[in-house]
Amino acid sequence: MSDTATAPHRALGLTDAEYELIVEKLGREPNAVELSMFSLMWSEHCAYKHSKKLLHQLPTEGPYLLMGPGENAGAVDVGDGLAIAFKVESHNHPSAVEPFQGAATGVGGILRDVFAVGARPIAVLDSLRFGELDSARSRYLLEHAVGGIGHYGNSIGVPTIGGELYFEGPYEQNCLVNAMALGIAQHERLTRSAATGPGNALILFGALTGRDGIGGASVLASAELGESDADKRPTVQIGDPFAEKKLMECSLELLDRELLVSLQDLGAAGLTSSSSEMASKGGLGLDIHVDRVPLREPGMEPFEIMVSESQERMLCVVEPARVDEVLAVCAKWETTATAIGEVTDSGRLRVLSGGDVVGDMPVEALVDDCPLYDLAPEKPSAPIYPAPRRILDTDEPAAILPALLGSWNLADRRPVFEQYDCLVQSRTVRRPDDADAAVLMLPAAADGTHPAIAVSIDGSGRRVACDPYRGTVEAVLECAANLACVGAAPLGLTNCLNFGNPEKPHIAWQLSESVRGMADACRALDVPVVGGNVSLYNEGPEGPIYPTPVVGMVGRLPDAARAGRLGFAVEGDAIAFAGPFTPSLPGSELAKLRGEPLPDGLPEVDVAAVRKAQEVVREAVRRGELRSAHDVAEGGLAVALAECCIGGGHGAAVDFRGAGAAGERLLETLFGEGAGGFVLSGPRPALAALAREINLTFVGEVAGEQLTLTLDDDARLSWPLAELRAARARGIADALDS
């Protein structure tokens, strides 16, 4: 303890070597203001010091890319001069400590990233992971995180159109809350954050600056969770969606009127990070007068003002002649705005208070000189994760299907997504549950048709834990498959890499393998990474989380009216299985329910064949030839069929004879998982035409009020639609209502 007390840099999360490097860069010891600023800028959260070298593997070029990593959000071209900006970001540790505010401010932060690049936010998606729902803590975290997301997104008028939600033991202490936002802008309106023009004014606008969130990036986001996390509650920020709504409208009006040189949001590390990033990108310096910053409470120290993570604030650079106009627009939106500094050509970030210089650092030292670490990856020799708890004690497929549908990972998500407004802004063509991906229409083209974008977010931690490389490849393929099912071709993706402590060799191995898998999958699909986020140190006292790379993918389809649906739609339609799908049970949802240990490795995926199948399905959907398309994911073919039945309100008679539906292989055939499979329905001739291009097997037809599977020995399994619906209805609902 005494070491920490006598070495303030350690208490702020800096190593001795890092501290010495700071002294070298400054040519002197840093004062308290400078040290707190360095500790944030050199934190894992801001500097990506353990992941940056790996991330260079990811492809960041593509034909539709307009803005890549490095800006507040990336952007792709969706035609007609329009761009979609998007990004996913984590708010894991704040949510583990205070789920409502943690999740709410996660949404607020990612929305600011999107409107900081000049795009009007049009959608939010979220990716959530908690421990199993028989734990009171997990139910509490779920209820309050969902409440926080709804509170923020609903109040600000941005629809929450999709997401994913899984429950696994390793997330018990360290839940994951990742939020993704999309925005729309004309190409020429996309705004960068570089500060330019010495003499230009720096204006801070939005909420007042308070003591909330001090040290959030370094203390909370860049260390493992421990026993005394309740003490860290003051490092969680408090969100005010009403303030953000005004801030958003104000920012967009300032950009519409072309009053700004550049714009940047204040997120982790507050004014310190936003100002130094702006200065660094512009290759210039900034003088910041902290005594001009409007405060929520009196007596704040300069360092507190510089590192405060108070929410709902933006920073912009304005030509001196435009300052009055900017202040007038802010006044119209009842948003406080203050000129707090100016752009200089010094290359230094200077902090002034009462005319005295209280901090003076080279911008480069703050932003670029943080040491980057090589990982020491090592494949663990023994399993890291305990086998899941066995909760299913049967080999009877008749009982397994309802059990899978009712399990927390597969049960109806309606009780969650109904708490989100998915409709505001009037673009939502496919709502949650309508299809594998959300679909938002774009303005009508000259011929009256509406092109559309599709979005999906995905990542299975358990499968990545089995095989970090192939599990990550699967996550990328799964997102692309979801897009294919609505007829969309991928344009770009954003990722959030949620992992444990990278200083541990086995976590470093998970991270390196996962990034390698993502890079390979992106190259194989020709989809660039437009930006993202890394969240490390996700560990609780019980150990690390499952390695969880979350992928958010955006695609485009030419005609919103033809966007695919997942549910069987027309009695008598043919049903086919399509794609290079090889089911396997290890690592599946069924294996989890049966308490089987995670396998060491997943089967290899033929990525080229999967890509081909996705293209064929996508084109068929675009031609309007299919009545439904659904990709085979958790729970395998039987669950996919049940979902198609429930989604469309139609039964199905499906013949598994000759498909290995007997004996040892029966469960694998029905419930095995893997990439590349689709359940399609439509007129038989249309499906037959696809069989010329990809693996396709006719298996039955849409019929009646029950799902019937005929097995190899002519045995029949049959479930009334009502039974399937009932099985799926309660899992999450019960947890939320308990």
Binding site: G157, D240, F242, E334, Q425, S426, R427, M441
Partner: protein, 223 residues
């Protein structure tokens, strides 16, 4: 005809409402701080979270400068439609009977619901048929309509309930399954569901358009 759609700080659905109005007429956004209604023929008070729903839903917006003009417009018989937060604001302004309380589940719910048209001979429902079912989304936390027994009886007796949730469709616990009520004079109407989100087959149903069409029919017949 020309609609005026109000915008308070925190309003979210004004653009949606404007687009819906433009399918049957023209529409202008009216700023909360102004008092000039720009000669519009009807007012829409749209949904959202005016002033963050702080203090109490609709309680602050009711005092916005534009509301003085809206109240005067309503007193003179001008058609005023309040949707969701707009309904709450009109109740707070005393233009509509009753109040909106938190949903019985205390949660925000966004769901497509079926409504039954109780009366079709009104400014707001003349494009519908009596007892017609409309499929329109509802999304709110505070949509449980309530009135004290005497007032509720009076509202029912006067035929002021224009829309009711179809049996089993209400998630908010509204008294008598009330989804939308008018004032006694019949020129002010508020509802919790969002007809502006049901005007385009691409995004769902088009049943909500009938309410906007009704207002346009009424205004067209009275100029």
């Amino acid at each position: 005809m020309r609609f005026g759609v109000l915008r308070f700080p925190g309003t979210c659905d004004e653009v949606d409402a404007q687009l819906a109005c433009e399918r049957v007429g023209e529409a202008a956004i009216l700023w909360h701080g102004d008092t000039d209604l720009q000669g519009v023929d009807a007012i829409v008070v749209p949904g959202g979270f005016s002033y963050g729903d702080y203090l109490r839903v609709g309680a602050i917006a009711r005092f916005a400068p534009i509301m003085e003009s809206v109240i005067a417009f309503a007193r003179e018989g001008g058609p005023v439609l309040g949707i969701c937060n707009g309904f709450q604001v009109l109740c707070e302004a005393g233009l509509l009977p009753g109040a909106l309380l938190p949903n019985k589940t205390l949660r925000f719910v966004c769901r497509q619901v079926d409504l039954v048209v109780e009366h079709a001979d009104t400014i707001f429902t003349n494009a519908c048929a009596e007892e017609e079912r409309l499929s329109i989304p509802a999304k709110h936390t505070t949509g449980c309509w309530y009135a004290p027994p005497e007032l509720a009886e009076q509202v029912e007796a006067n035929g002021q309930v224009l829309l009711r949730y179809a049996p089993g469709e209400s998630f908010n616990g509204s008294l008598g399954d009330v989804a939308g009520v008018r004032n006694e004079a019949g020129n002010v109407f508020g509802l919790m569901p969002h007809p502006e989100h049901a005007v385009d087959p691409l995004t769902g149903s088009t049943d909500g358009l009938k309410l906007f069409q009704s207002i346009a029919n009424h205004v067209g017949a009275h100029v």
